[in-house]
Symmetry: none
DNA sequence: CTCTGTCCTGGCCACCCGGGCAGTTTCGCA
DNA sequence: TGCGAAACTGCCCGGGTGGCCAGGACAGAG
């Protein structure tokens, strides 16, 4: 019939449990017609698995931190965030610092990416 | 050795596109060690795919820009990106500038957020 | 009442970032 | 064959960022 030109289906993995991720990667890597996506590559579908136990659910962020985080995700600078929230730039930097710490991020860009990945914020 | 105590991995499908769902079901149904979950059955992982209509075409980014963008999304600094790609910091800044322009972003955080929103990259 | 946590503010400083300038090579396409 | 796009590199500079120090106000828990 037509096993002719169907392109490979790109699959990405989002698995919390490393062991499960390994097994799935091994299993899926050998399936003809499938290919695992490289980091950053856009996949046609994603395999997700959330370990119900290992769910910190939402990380413990204070309300103010969530405010700052939301504005950060909009690309706002500390100065803009300060004006928006009616607080000083120093305070914004303070909250940003806490955010970097809690989200285990190295910078604001990383923080937003991490937050989005963990569902703390919606892009 | 021990194929003994590895139970089958239960996979459920959440695919908007019926055609893609069909192909994936066919592909995954024949993989030893995997089993597709019956409706209502609790799966270890879920294969999800967004509606393909909801992708407003990729913005015209060059390959190098995509490289830089992917690393930016990982929270890498210009210096780290330069080392990673084997180019100079100045060149990285050049590409970042193009990215900010094309993505209509005010900074690297905004660029990553926009790119993720438009599906250019996967977080 | 003390202690803890959250929120807020200030200053200082090294570094990073973004944008401007100008220049090279390489490659594909008309 | 010439021309433009892409990729790459350099320097300069103002402003932003992140990390550190210090402090105070205020609410709730023990």
């Amino acid at each position: 019939m037509s096993e002719d030109k169907l392109p490979e289906i790109l699959l990405s993995l989002e698995i919390d449990d490393p062991a499960l991720a390994d097994r799935l990667a091994a299993l899926l890597g050998n399936v003809a017609g499938l290919r695992l996506a490289a980091p950053g590559e856009r996949a046609a579908a994603t395999v997700v698995a959330r370990d119900p136990r290992a769910r910190p659910e939402d990380i413990a962020l204070t309300q103010r931190e969530l405010d700052v985080l939301a504005l950060m995700a909009e690309g706002a600078s500390n100065k803009m965030i300060a004006r928006q929230l009616g607080i000083s730039v120093h305070t914004v930097k303070f909250h940003v610092g806490s955010l970097l710490d809690k989200l285990d991020a190295t910078g604001r860009t990383d923080a937003v990416a991490h937050a989005a990945r963990r569902g703390v914020i919606e892009l």
